[in-house]
Structures are given as structure tokens and as C-alpha cells.
Symmetry: C2
Subunit: 342 residues, 2 copies
DNA sequence: TTGTACGCGTTATCAC
DNA sequence: GTGATAACGCGTACAA
């Protein structure tokens, strides 16, 4: 693979002159510039970004660590992040932690070693180790989607509590008095926040029994399993709230298997919308998170930190984006008024 | 950020000794090793992969360029590729071409500049420019999912013709005599192959009119639009074959909007399955591609090329994986026999 | 067992 | 307007 010296020899100039032409830094006479450009084209020279990075200490690369890139929510976040990064002339590396802290830490280590310019992290569990590692290594970091207990990092997330509150209020207004919440692992803030928001809505209604809460994983299998548990309880709930999209799908599968009709027998509401392109028949009532925008905003915040000088600078920022209530058939008939068009 | 020299100073040894400890290359006395390891831990040293790559000419990184990472098919391919890469100690960079050749070429240029060890490419359109660029730059390349017209590259793909043939045969066996095929852009081999396979099945049945063919984009909107066109034709088709998952979903939406029942009024079959985790009610009859395995195999082939010495070595390989026919409700009742369980 | 010299490809600094 | 020199952080080749 040709180097800058090869180009220089062919054009009869020095390496630094080629560098000036390539980067448009410093003065070069028109004739020399032409000669250099021709040489570049002839031998197909492409500057070596590795060498460049070694000098500049910038890789123009940022990384996004998600817990599951199979989840369309994270795919959409990634897409938003990539578009924003691309606009800024940066590449985006996507990594999967599989909701495992060990994997997450392994990736952070690799990424720091590769000297990416910054990391966007959807923390598995608390994420404390990974966050501490970035902090110690001076690696710019933005936490995405999940609140950080100690608030000791920049965060971009959606309003989980608010969204869950709205869903709770909706179900209450539809007359449900016995409900259950199916959520993710205990340590995950989004899992807890959605429970909290829902609980508040129920409490605000007054006189209702607090919803029973089930903890599991954010997976379809876990949703199926928890749905069976929930329906076995007495008094049997008339509405289920699934705290993420995969859980909701698992719930629907379980109910289908059990011959329970939705929404006639049991109403269902979920968190995270599924992209329209992925759904044969829009059916689920959800609190939709602005996934694409979350990706964009995360990159924007990270870039701001990068250019805003090194150190901590300002205190940590927390960007909280609103969710959107989308009412469909799964929550039952709201007296005909709120129906979203198919 | 500390360097190898910092560690060396702190441990009272030379840089190369630290290098030997870190890479376990060459002999180091137990005591020195201990001193060095302590120094590494104390100052939190992480080897600089950029400098390492500059010397070794390897980045331990490969890239995957897909046309749309929002599509669950490609997400699954990516997941398979990432797992395989991770097992081999490599990182995977994912890029979106958005089915645009200009973007694709831009990414190839960036990736060659960054000296990734190899590229997995789902070509947008013919992909001729990108493939030529890789060839010229000596960048190892594996083409994924799409056949390459001149066969001048390693390829891993599914058997589009075979899968489409099976779907065609199924619909014929269900009694359909007037059918339409909705596919992607003309230049895309998968789009053409699926038409071809379907056509052959119809021709093989004998005495049937050849299916009408519509070309569009591999998007939900295009599927909706082509479905409307197809149903306006006379004689009106009784079965539609959508050559990709997004197209199929667009078709279902259009039919729903038009009040056409599936499968009672019109049967529908598609290509590419949707992951179970993403589907509220499994409904579509499809030829499913082994997406995860395609990702794995692509990486395996690339790694084989990397270790199998530089030059062309052997002639180009073509790995063709079989699709799987999954019969569900959308294709109509096959006399009760073939129904897949929900 | 440990260390010295050098080069990977690029660019910042300073000179001409 | 152009070029020589050095340095980024690491690992190979060769000594000691």
C-alpha cells in the first residue's frame, strides 16, 4: 500500500508537501499541487489514518455500547447516532454487551486501547465499573437510555417515569382496578422507573390496590413466563403493563397460548414502540421513546464535551426526552375517542 | 494517558521489558514481571492499539457495510458476524450505505484509510465500484447476501432462487393461477433471483400465465404502492409474492387499508423471516434466510483469506446457504397439513 | 535475562 | 513556497 513518501518521490517533492496538499494545510504553488494530485491519483494513495491518529491523538471514531443490538429500539438509537456522527465526519463502532457487565468492561477496555474519541454507553446493570474506568482513563462518556444512580455522568434518556405514569393513568381511566407490572432486572434504572411511574398513576387514582410487580429479564421468554405468573394470581389482573417491547411481545404470545383474548379478557400496554416497518398489524398500546433522537442527542452531547476542552468543564448534563403515548387496540376500547388510526 | 515508557520508568526497567510482559513475548524474570505488573496496575496503563497497529500493520478490526441496519435481517447478520469476530479477537465496525453506491464507496475509502483488516460488503446495486476499489487497494473482501455478476469476489449468500421457487410451488399447489411478484431495484441480484425462482416454479407447473412483476425499492412504502398497482391489474391476482420482509409488511398494510382480507381474498408470501422476538402474531409465510449463520460464515471466510497468505491464493469461493420454507396463515389453508405451530 | 537502535507513516516546528 | 528534523508509542532485530 503506497505511502506519502511514494507520492512525494513520484511527484518530485518532499513528504510534507504532499501532506499539505492532502490536508489543505499550508501554502502550495498551483503547479506543485497539480503534480502531487496527479501522483496521488496515479498510485491510488489513501492517507494512513493509523499513523495520522498516532500523531494527532484523535481517531475520529466514537463507540456505542448497547445491551442488545437485535432490539429495534437500540437499532434506531444506533441509526440516529450514526447519522449524527457521520455528519460530524466521525465513524461509529457498535458493540453488544448482551446485558453483561463483564462484556461491557471488556469492550470499554478495548475501546480505550484503540483510543476512540469517546464512548456512548447503555449500561448493563449499574454500569459502575465501566463508568469508573472511563473516568479514570479520561475517556469522554455519555450514558444513554439509563439513569445513573450517582448522577456522575452525562446522560441522555427518555422520561420512563412520565411515560409509565401516562400508561397507568390510561388503564385506570379504562376502569381497570387490578393490574400487574412486568419489568426487567432490579438493578436497571429504567426497569425501576417504569414501575415507579405506573405505581404513582395507580396511587393517584386513589382507592385502588397497588399493582403486583414482577421482575425478570428484558426478553421475550421472560415476558411469557411473567405473564403466566401474573394471570395465576388472585384476584386476577385485568390489565398488564410490560416495561419493554420484548416483554410485551412475550406477554402477547403467552396470552395467545393460554387462549386469553386481548383486549377483551385482559388489556395490555407496553414501553418502546416497534418501528412501523417491523409490524404486520399495529396493535400494542405503548409509551414510545424517541429512539432516533436519543441517538442524535447523545452524539451531540459527546461532541460538545470533546470540543469544550478536556476536563470536566461544566457539571454533568442530563437530557430527558418525553415519551409519546400511542393508544392502539391492545389496551381496550377507550369509549371510541382515543383510537389511533391504523 | 500513560505510555509504555511511563510504566518502564516506574518499574525501573526498559520499555521493551514492559512490552514483553504485556504481550508475553520473550523471557522476563519473575521478580521483574511482578514489578512491571504492579506498575501497570498502579498507573492504569492500557497499551496504545494505534501505535501497535502502525507497527504490526494489523488493526484486528473488520468492517461490515450493510444497506440498512434497521432491517432485522441485517441486524441478525451483523450479530452473527460480531460473535464470530469477537471469538477471533477482532472488533466489528458496522456501516450503513442506505442502498446508495456513493455512500458505499465513501465508506470503503474511509475503511481502507483506517486500515481495517478486511471488509464484509452487502453491495448496494452492483457494487462494482466498491469491489474494484478493494481489489485495487489489496483490501480483503467478502461479499454478503448478494451475488456478484462477474463472480470476481468471495461471496456468502442464501439461495434466493431456490427459496423463491419453493414459495412459488407452494402457491401453485394451493391453486393460484394468477400471481404477482413485488421485488426490489432491477440492478440488485437478490431482487432478480427471487423473481427468477418464482417464475420457474410457475412455469414448471405448466399452463399458468407468467406472474406480473413489479420493481421498486426494498421498503415498506414501496411494498404498499406496488400492492395497490398489482391489485388494480386485470385479471386480478389471487396471490402476491413480496421479495423481502419490508415489502411484505407494506403489502399487508396496503391490503388492510383496502379492506382486502388475507388470506381469504388474496394470499401473501414473503422473503426473509422476521425474528420471533419482533412479531406480535406470526402470520407471514416466508422463505427464511439463515441470517445469523450468513454473518458467521462471512467472517470465517474472511479470516481464512487473511491467514491464507495475501495474494488471490485460491479462486473465489461462493458459499450458498439454503433457505427454509415457513408456512403460516398468510398463504392460505394448505388443506391443514403444513400449518406451522404458532 | 535485559537493553539499544531503528522504523512503522504522518505532521508540527522551525529553517531556508 | 518548500524542505529537513523530530516526535507520536510500540515492537522487531540484534547485542550484551
Amino acid at each position: 500500500m503506497p505511502t506519502i513518501v511514494d507520492v512525494a518521490n513520484r511527484a518530485g517533492v518532499s513528504a510534507i508537501t504532499v501532506s499539505r496538499v492532502v490536508n489543505d494545510s499550508g501554502p502550495v504553488s498551483t503547479q506543485v499541487r497539480a503534480r502531487v494530485e496527479r501522483a496521488i491519483a496515479e498510485i491510488g494513495y489513501l492517507p494512513n489514518a493509523v499513523a495520522r491518529s498516532l500523531r494527532s491523538k484523535r481517531t475520529d471514531t466514537i463507540a456505542l455500547i448497547v445491551t442488545d443490538m437485535t432490539n429495534p429500539f437500540f437499532t434506531t438509537v444506533a441509526r440516529g447516532a450514526e447519522d449524527a456522527a457521520s455528519d460530524a465526519g466521525m465513524m461509529l463502532i457498535i458493540c453488544n454487551s448482551d446485558e453483561r457487565e463483564a462484556e461491557e468492561v471488556r469492550y470499554v477496555r478495548m475501546l480505550v486501547g484503540r483510543r476512540v474519541d469517546g464512548i456512548l454507553l447503555v449500561p448493563a446493570g449499574g454500569g459502575a465499573t465501566a463508568i469508573g474506568l472511563c473516568r479514570k482513563q479520561g475517556m469522554p462518556l455519555v450514558v444513554v437510555d439509563r439513569r445513573v444512580p450517582g448522577h456522575d455522568a452525562d446522560v441522555v434518556r427518555a422520561d420512563s417515569r412520565g411515560g409509565a405514569f401516562e400508561l397507568g393513568r390510561l388503564l385506570v381511566s379504562l376502569g381497570h382496578r387490578t393490574m400487574a407490572v412486568l419489568t426487567g432486572p432490579r438493578a436497571v434504572p429504567t426497569a425501576d422507573d417504569r414501575v415507579l411511574g405506573f405505581r404513582r398513576a395507580v396511587a393517584a387514582a386513589g382507592g385502588l390496590r397497588p399493582p403486583r410487580v414482577y421482575h425478570g429479564a428484558f426478553t421475550i421468554d421472560s415476558g411469557r413466563e411473567m405473564a403466566r405468573l401474573a394471570l395465576a394470581a388472585r384476584p386476577r389482573p385485568t390489565a398488564l403493563f410490560a416495561a419493554n417491547n420484548f416483554l410485551a411481545i412475550g406477554v402477547l404470545h403467552a396470552l395467545d397460548e393460554m387462549g386469553v383474548r386481548v383486549p377483551e379478557d385482559v388489556a395490555v400496554a407496553g414501553f418502546d414502540d416497534l418501528p412501523p416497518a417491523m409490524v404486520t398489524f399495529p396493535f400494542l398500546t405503548v409509551a414510545a421513546q424517541p429512539a432516533y433522537e436519543m441517538g442524535q442527542r447523545s452524539v451531540a452531547l459527546l461532541l460538545a464535551r470533546l470540543s469544550g476542552g478536556p476536563g470536566p468543564g461544566q457539571p454533568y448534563a442530563e437530557v430527558v426526552l418525553p415519551t409519546q403515548l400511542v393508544v392502539r387496540r391492545s389496551s381496550g376500547d377507550p369509549r371510541g375517542a382515543l383510537h389511533a388510526p391504523l
